[in-house]
Every structure is written in structure tokens, then in C-alpha cells.
Symmetry: C3
Subunit: 444 residues, 3 copies
């Protein structure tokens, strides 16, 4: 059943009331609240994080039992952790999970033993080339345990006996993900997906989780043509699980974006969908091109985030990945340096703004038919053209001419926008004025 | 009925007797003669201008009555002007139409009144950022009146009483355009169109009017494959009128060019037809590429000259726009500074020359079929190849090999010219020699 | 009848035992041995050269009688030369064919006469702009005679009587070419062609003849999917003869390369086949791109080597031309300066190496079908993926993901290699591992 949006608020009004500073500050605050929580691909950290987002938007929590077959994979056991530490021979904590959720190899099995350094050393991970940073490591599918710490901390370890404690559980439970669907005028869906499984890492991907939530909040109550589906899911296994359990929904997804690393100060990077020239790919490129900012476009590759799953050959959805500095391209990536100082309120706000522009472009992208296709119609007598000749066309007049000339049943508004290098909003307004004067109609 | 050209003169002979200096001087002289006349979209100024061109070529004047419905438009009333001035309180003429046809807003209704400066000021147009130049302004479809003058002139106006006179008429009459058709061996037509409605502006578009006339003069009496149709028409309403009254001719137009701004010293600019890769687009690009000169190519946009109408979606003719510096891209555009000092004889001659090369390319562009397609035929025993080996191919030998290799029914001579970066004339001569030796035939 | 290769040696083993220095030295030695011989498009010089190559590989000599019709051409009379000289009035040899086979215009008819300088001068060819070099000249199809010499030598000629001797024969005989076919698992053939008609010129084309022979030697005894056909043929007439006599073979040729000028120190140049994006064109480009070396790609043109014939419109084979510095692009081309100092052992070895990489690419280029196309299959439990997460993918993991994602029945391994910028060998190994785990199958 299709639920119509209750509101008549337009997307344009969202832009009119746009407050970058306020938006940025609010999102940064949410990132800060999520930061300390130890998330993983399953477990209470995920639940706690999603519930925190529920303060802003009415997302639903879904629980998928361990052991569920999802395509070639099986939902794993649920992992939870209460505490972890290493104590030296004097009983001093030389590593304390309470200080950073990165200190434990994610999905470590429980351990509580004494051992000397050589044995312990096999379970310690550092970044020698970045001696102050703690690496992020996981071992979801091989049962093991380990600690991550800075090289400087490790350098202080002596060859003595250590007390090692990881107070975790790994047993049948559930995989948890969050979902929110905003129904639009049609069942054509736009999918916004972000991974929610990383522990204390801010850009990757608290930024994505929070920008997605705020995007959803802005679109709530706006009258939209597309329906919007937001998912907060653990990376890889979460996307696979969601796709396996939602196969009937897949054909309805007309456009999609994975959001990640949208909080740093770098320029935008858009990774195209596997199709390469899908409408979403062109809409994002067009918006970034008109943003006046430098940006990078990269072709699809099967490494990265959950676009790997959405763009697997048997799924092949038009889903790209919207980022600032991409995964692996900043030194702080997957380390404790991806912290609250690495993301900024203005960057979060700017990411959200450009995403709203992308959605504006998708919403406005229709095809029209010129009802007076032989020569230009006389716009002046319809009040659409300046009366004094000899001067240049205004931007709106340009838009009218572009829409009239290329509304031949073969070009959509986005096609025209790309050629004209004009904003979709201006073309949309021009098309509206022409439809009002019976010079244009929406194509069938 | 198809009239065959009476002459056997070839286009090649036009090039052999080419005299750039002479051509340039003659065209510049004609521009000078046309310059003082006050043209508009209708009226005696247009008639006088076209009759002046009749000294060089037998173009016909066509008259279309006011009120005639032409697609979405109606042919307007005819405008004529005898005189106009502003006199100050002392009775001195502080503005005199006899000094520049730009001084009156084109299509001003008659006025003869006294008024003080504040009221007059509403009807005065200047260019504050170019204080010595008079702007060009029109008001074809809203009945009003006005004067254009330099900012320096306006600065001398005091708050006193002025006598204002525009001695014009605006009443039912005709829209006048010029036309000349040169019949060729086939009814496939090449359309050359220029606007004839601008008053004392040299580059825009006396240059186009005169280059078109001289192009027609050169092609008269030349044996040509295509028929050529030249039109001198008022901008916008003229093109719309011509198209509306000549719909049966439209399908015969295989290639077309709008000529404008072809007299300034800037480099060539070719604005592609809406189709973007029509034969005319490729021919112009090829010719300009081989010219050794810098040039610009721009994609079609629905602003500019009458390509707007020829390339409207319901007409969609392969008509590009051949210019030097485009409209709006030089500061003198639509001002009194677009005068006789802005256009030069060499620029006019060079424009004409490149247009003749374009026509040479269109005329030569046929497809051929290699009758010995398996390996190269032995050209040496047919007198087409050097006897002494070890040295490089001559340009003609290269052309023979290109024509033979790509005359497979899929490539035209222009296709080959683009790949080979060879002049169409050389390929045409090579094709002729191969046809003579029964190595090649014209494709069906 | 299809002969299966007797050996199970793989191409990979050829690379594992690759010894650039040894290969280069051996090829340079063979070039040195071939250098003094006076080759032409027919005659004993060709036979002697091919027999010298038979020491390395079992190529067959084919003899085609003079007068045989081959498409538009006729196999010419056979030319042989024993000696030639010019003696001055004192009886001193001022030009001696024994010192350089370039001294006689190739295919000169016999002459034994006395004449004074003015008459002799008509038959002497020099390079005034390169006064120390002897030019290379031929006259295959016009019966004449002549000598080539350096300008400095000519400058010493006085106006006296000279004794002129060319002890040659031109009479019915045969055109000789060499051929070697290495049968592979299928009848799909790769053609390697080089011209064998140039006298004492090292880069053009002793380098090609010798690299082709060594390529054949390396592929002998290797288990290959394609059959390989090598031909050593006189330029133009040889390729035409071979094609005319082997028309039934033509459809089996799936890829081909003409080898020429592969011994100089310049960077690689690949001239694409007429088709432009044939598999061979893409394979060579991919290999050169990953070589890390600078290289040039040029589009097909109907000048050059025997790709002219293989790519004539009625043959149109996917045959490109693999070179270092192309014909005509180095000053030594077709002069005595194209000597043993112009080619080097390392350049010959490097050319051979890249050709082997091209063949590796052609051999590996298959299409596969992902048997688990919905989302990624779980590679970790199949031992194909690292267990510790948070770090980057290895190159082999990348290759696995690329192969899985694009093995959709539309992309071949070369398509994937181009997108991924990965070596064909890595992708081939990844595909092999995936086939072993039943995640992939070879496409039908």
C-alpha cells in the first residue's frame, strides 16, 4: 500500500530555510555522542547507536537471527563486550578498553589469562609508521582475540607477566540494522545506505550515519515524487543480509547512494555505480560540477563500501558512493586518528547540502514535450521574455529556451541541464512556467 | 523544375583565381555603403540595403504582409523613420538621428513633444561602463519610444525643457527579405542565411550580409552538385517567416550555415548544429582544422542567431553558425563601436575563403567503392605510383591509398579526410584518378 | 589435421626462466650474421637468410614461380646479383658492392659498360643532406639500373670515363618466403609477419626477422590455446602473394602483428589495426600501459608495412604493427646508417619480452561467468581472503573481486584488466582459483 506524504512542504522550502552553521553543529554533536560506543557488525553497540538516532528520526530496528542463510553467507553469532584490559606485573592497566573501543580486535573471543610478553605479543597490533595511533582491526570469521595499541604504548611493555582480560561473548543472537522508509508519490525508491559497524571512527563512518539521519529528517514531511529508503547496516554482511531479505524491493530501487567519509575537510569524491552512467551518476556529477568546488569522479571498482554488494553482477543496482576523501586515501583511515578532530561541522553540513541538491535533481528530472516545436514560440506576449531587445538573455530566459529546444521526447531535464550547465531548479521552474502557458507537457 | 547551371566553371578555378586583397577591399567597400542605412526588421532601410546588394548579385526581394500568421507569430506592422532628434531649451540639437541610426530605439513609435529631463530620462539609454559608446536597443513588440546615446552626451543634459521628435511610422505594410537560389545538378540544397535587420552595426551583421553576397557571386556560374539558397532576413521573425512560408523546401536542405560576425579580427568560431555531428559540422571543423589557424568549436545552444529557429526541435535542420568572435563575446557588440574600424578587409576575405573551402568539402563528399578490395591494386603499372622505391610516398600517393583502403561502402570522402588529415581537394583528385582507372566507383 | 603441442610447458615458465641479457646477445648475433647478405623481394639472398634462421627454428621455405597471378599483381622475375662495381679511369674501384649491398639499386638489370660521368650521374643516388650515408633504393617494377653511394664518395668523382658493372640476373624463377606454424589447442590463429626483403638494414627489418624467429622459438613446445603462424615474406608483393595463396586460412586468423623496427633504442610504437579496437589492439595497449614505459599509439593508416595488405578493405584482418621508432621517423631509416650500431641487444630483448606479454594476454583472454552473482561470495571460508579485517586488500584479493564482479557474460578478462589496470596474469590466476572453488565457470 502506498502512503502519500502528509505534507505539502516542498524541497525548495528546505533550501530556503537552510542554515549551514546550525545543521553542522547539530550533526557534529550527534557524531560526538556516537563516538565512544563500541559498534561491531552485531551486538548492543549497534542497538545503542541506532536508538540514539531515533531521537531524531523514527527509524525501525530490525533483528536477523544468527544462522540465517543470506545468499552465500550465514548471519554470524552476536558479539558483545563489557570490558577488556591488559595489566602489567604491578597490576597497573597498561591497556584499557574503556579508553578506546579500538583497543580490542573487534569480535575477539573472551580471554582471561596470564602470559608473558612473547606470547602476548602475537596478539598485539600497532602501526609502527604512526607510533601514536591505534589501528582498527577485526576478525569476524576467524575466532581469535587481540589488542590494538599505539607503537609508543607497546614500546613500554617489558618482558614480564601480564594479565589479559577480554570480557566478551560470542553466541547466537541477532544482526541488527536500522531502516526508515519515507513514502513518496510513487513507489520508485531512492536508497540511502551507510554502514553502522565501525567502532570509534568518526569519518568512517559516524559521519555517514549522521548525515543519512539528517537527510532523512529534512525529507520527512516534504512532498516528494520518489519514496526514500534509508538503511543503517553493518558493512558487507549487513548489505548482503538486507538484499537477501528484501529481494522483492530491489526492482523498485531506481537510484541509490552509499554514504561514507562525509565529514572530513577534503573535497568531494563520487564513485560511480557499476553502470557508470546511471541517472544517479549523472545527477551527482551535475550537482558537483555546478557547486563550483573541486571534486573527483572515480569509476566503480569492486573494493570499497557496500556498493560492492549493491553493484554485484546479480544485483547491479544504480548505486554510487558519495564521499569526501575516500577510504584508504587519508592516513587517519582505520586508526584512532579518525577522531572528533578529523571531522568538522562545516564539512558535515556541506555534505548534507550537496546531497539535498542531488535529491532535488532526481526529483526534478522528468521529460517534457514542446507543444510548439516549429521555431520558438513567442514568449514575449506570454510575459516570459524581456520587451527591450539588444541586451542579453536572463538566466531564466536561457532556461526557457533550453527546455523548449530539447523537450523533444528524447531529452530529460537532466540531459538538458548537463548541456546547458544550468541548475536543475532553474530548469524545473522554466518547465513549470511553460507547462502553465500550454507550451509544454510532461512526456508520457 | 531543375535548372542546370549554364557554366562549366569549376570550384577549383575559383581558388586558382583567388585574390584575397581584391576580395577584401570590395567587400569592405560594400559594408561601408550599407553602414549608414537604418535597418530594422521591416521597412525601407531593409529594401534599400538589399537593392544595394543587387548591384552584385540578382537576389529577389520578397514582401510578406503585416498580419500574416507565421507559426506562433504574426508578421508585425512595418516601421519607417525619417528623422529624430532632441533639442535643448536653446533649440540646439543635442541628439541627432542623422548622425547615427543607433540613436533611436529601433521600432520607436512617433513622438513630438516637449518635456523636462526627468520625464525624458525614462526614455534614454546609455552604457555607463562604456561612456563613449551608444547602445543598440529595440522594442519590436511593445509600443514605446526611446533614444540611445553615449553616457558622456547624457552627462551634458541639464534639467531643462527638451523638444523631442521621432518622425516614424508604424503601420500595416510588409516584412521584406532577400533570397537567391543557385540551381545545381541536384535539388539537395545548401542554405546560407544571414540577418539583415541590424542598423549601423558592422560586424553584426553587415559582415555576414556582404560575405553571403560575395559567396553567392563566386558560386554563380560554377558547376555544382548542390543547389545553393541564400537568404537575407530579419533576425528571429524573418527566419520564422521564411520557414513558415517555405515548409516544402525544408526537407531539401541538406546543409546550412548562418553567417554572422565574420568581419572582425578574431579567430573563427563555429557553433555546431543541434545535431552536433551533421555533415556540415564535420566539414567546417575539418576545413578549420586544416587551415592551420586557431579556432573555437562550440556546441549548439538555443541562444544566438537564427540557428535558434533552423534548429528548433520541429525543424531540426543541420544548420550551424559560422562566426569569428561570437555575439556577446566582444565589448563592441551591440554598440556604436561595432563600426567601420572594427571590421577589416582581410578578415572579410579570409572568412569568405574558408567558406568556399567548406563548400568545396561538401561538394566533394561522396562515398566510393574499391573495386579491387583484396590487398592494394598495383598502382605503379597504372602510372599512379613512383617507380623508385625506398623514398616516402607523395601526398597524392597517400591520398590514393587512403581512398582505396577506406572506400568500403562505409566511409565517405569526408570520413577519410578526417582520418587522413588530408584536404578534401586532394582526396577528390585521388578518387577521380582511381575512378578513371576503373579501380573505384561511386557508391550507390 | 590439428596437431596438439607435445609439451606441457606453460608460457609462465618462459617468463620464469627469462634472461634478457642472454636473449638480447643471441638475437644481436643473428642480426650480425644476416647483415651482410643482399636480400631483395626474390633471389638467393632471401633463401640464404631464411636458411640461417633455420638453425634456430624449423621454418619452411616456400617457392612461388614468377608469373603467378596474385590478386591484382604478378609474381615478378627473380633477381640475383653476384657483383657490382664502378672503376675509375685508373681502374680503381670507386664503388664496390662487396662492401655494402646498398651500393646497388635493388633489382638493377645487368650492365657492363664504359661511360663518362654525365651519363653515369643519371644512375647515381646520394643523400646530400646526410653526406656520409648511402641511401637504399629499389626499382622492382621498372627495369633500370643504378648505384647508391654517399655524397662524399660522389664528390670525389671526376669527369672521366668509368667502367660500370652490375653482374646481376633478372629472369623467371621464384619468390621465396619462410613460414612456420605452431599448432595449439585450437585452430584460431595468431599471425606474426615480418618483411625479409631489405638488404643490409638492421632495424628495418633484420630486427623484425630475428625477433619473430626467437618468439617462435620460445613458443615452440609451449602448451598454447591459439595456433601461431609466423611468416617471413618480402614486403608488399610477399604479403599479397601469401594472402592470395592462403585465402582459406584468412578466416582462422583471429589476431596478428607485423613486426618491424624493433631493435632501436626508441620507445615502443603500436600502430592499431584498421578495425582500431580489435582484441590485438587492446591487448598490446594494455601490455604497454602496464609496462611502465612510455609508448606511442597511432591509428591505422594505409602507409607503412604489410598491415597495408592485411588491413586492405577486402581482407580486413585484425593485424597491427608493433615497432619501436616507426619507419620514416628516424633519420637512419632506409640508409646505411641503419647498421649494427643502430640496434642493440637490450632493445631486441625488450621487444621480445613485451611481445611475449602480448601473447600471454591473448592466451588468457576468456570470458567467465560468476556462479554466485548476487552479492560477493564469502571468499574467506574458501581460503581466498585475509582473515584479519581493517587492512587493505592484497592485489590477488583485488583481482578476485574484479573477476567476480565483471564476469557477467559481457566482459572478457581483457575488459576487466583494462578497467582494473591489473596484469592479465594476475587476473588469470584469480580466475583459475575461482574456477577451482566452483565460483566461476568459463563462458560458453
Amino acid at each position: 500500500m502506498r502512503i502519500q506524504s502528509m505534507s505539502n512542504k516542498t524541497l525548495n522550502e528546505v533550501f530556503k530555510t537552510w542554515n549551514a552553521a546550525g545543521q553542522g553543529a547539530e550533526m557534529y554533536k550527534t557524531v560526538s555522542e556516537l563516538y565512544p560506543i563500541c559498534r561491531s557488525i552485531t551486538g548492543d553497540g549497534v542497538r545503542q547507536s541506532l536508538r540514539l538516532l531515533q531521537r531524531h528520526i523514527p527509524l525501525a530496528l530490525h533483528e536477523v537471527p544468527s544462522g540465517t542463510q543470506v545468499f552465500d553467507w550465514v548471519v554470524p553469532n552476536e558479539w558483545n563486550i563489557r570490558d577488556a584490559y591488559i595489566k602489567n606485573a604491578k597490576g597497573e592497566k597498561v591497556l584499557d578498553f574503556q579508553k578506546s573501543s579500538l583497543h580490542v580486535v573487534n569480535y575477539s573471543v573472551p580471554v582471561r589469562r596470564k602470559m608473558r610478553l612473547p606470547e602476548l605479543r602475537e596478539h598485539l597490533f600497532t602501526l609502527p609508521e604512526k607510533p601514536d595511533w591505534i589501528p582498527y582491526r577485526t576478525s569476524y570469521y576467524k575466532e581469535t582475540w587481540g589488542f590494538c595499541l599505539s607503537q609508543r604504548e607497546l614500546d613500554n611493555f617489558k618482558d614480564e607477566e601480564y594479565e589479559v582480560c577480554i570480557d566478551s561473548t560470542l553466541k547466537p543472537g541477532n544482526l541488527t540494522y536500522g531502516e526508515l522508509r519515507l513514502p513518496g508519490a510513487t513507489d520508485d525508491e531512492v536508497l540511502i545506505s551507510c554502514h553502522s559497524c565501525h567502532p570509534s571512527l568518526c569519518n568512517d563512518n559516524l559521519s555517514g550515519m549522521v548525515v543519512a539521519a539528517n537527510l532523512a529528517r529534512h525529507l520527512s514531511g516534504v512532498s516528494l515524487r520518489h519514496s526514500f529508503r534509508f538503511v543503517w547496516i553493518p558493512g558487507t554482511i549487513g548489505a548482503i543480509t538486507w538484499l537477501a531479505l528484501n529481494e522483492p524491493v530491489i526492482p523498485r530501487i531506481k537510484h541509490g547512494l552509499v554514504l561514507s567519509c562525509v565529514g572530513d575537510g577534503g573535497r568531494f569524491t563520487y564513485k560511480r555505480s557499476r553502470r557508470g552512467n546511471a541517472e544517479i551518476d549523472r545527477a551527482v556529477e551535475h550537482v558537483l560540477r555546478l557547486s563550483g568546488k573541486e571534486f573527483d569522479l572515480v569509476d566503480f571498482s569492486p573494493s570499497g563500501y557496500d556498493e560492492r554488494q549493491y553493484c554485484s553482477p546479480g544485483i547491479n543496482l544504480p548505486v554510487g558512493c558519495f564521499m569526501r576523501t575516500p577510504n584508504g586515501k587519508y592516513p587517519q583511515y582505520h586508526t584512532s586518528a579518525d577522531d572528533l578532530s578529523f571531522v568538522t561541522a562545516p564539512a558535515l553540513a556541506e555534505s548534507l547540502f550537496e546531497l539535498l541538491k542531488v535529491i532535488e535533481a532526481l526529483e526534478a528530472n522528468r521529460s517534457y514535450v514542446n507543444l510548439h516545436p516549429k521555431c520558438e514560440p513567442q514568449l514575449g506576449r506570454r510575459g516570459l521574455y524581456r520587451q527591450m531587445g539588444g541586451t542579453s538573455n536572463s538566466g531564466f530566459e536561457e532556461a526557457l529556451l533550453w527546455v523548449l529546444n530539447f523537450s523533444d521526447g528524447k531529452h530529460s531535464l537532466l540531459d538538458i541541464a548537463e548541456r546547458a550547465k544550468l541548475e536543475m531548479r532553474v530548469l524545473d521552474e522554466a518547465a513549470g512556467a511553460l507547462v502553465d502557458r500550454q507550451l509544454l507537457r510532461i512526456a508520457d
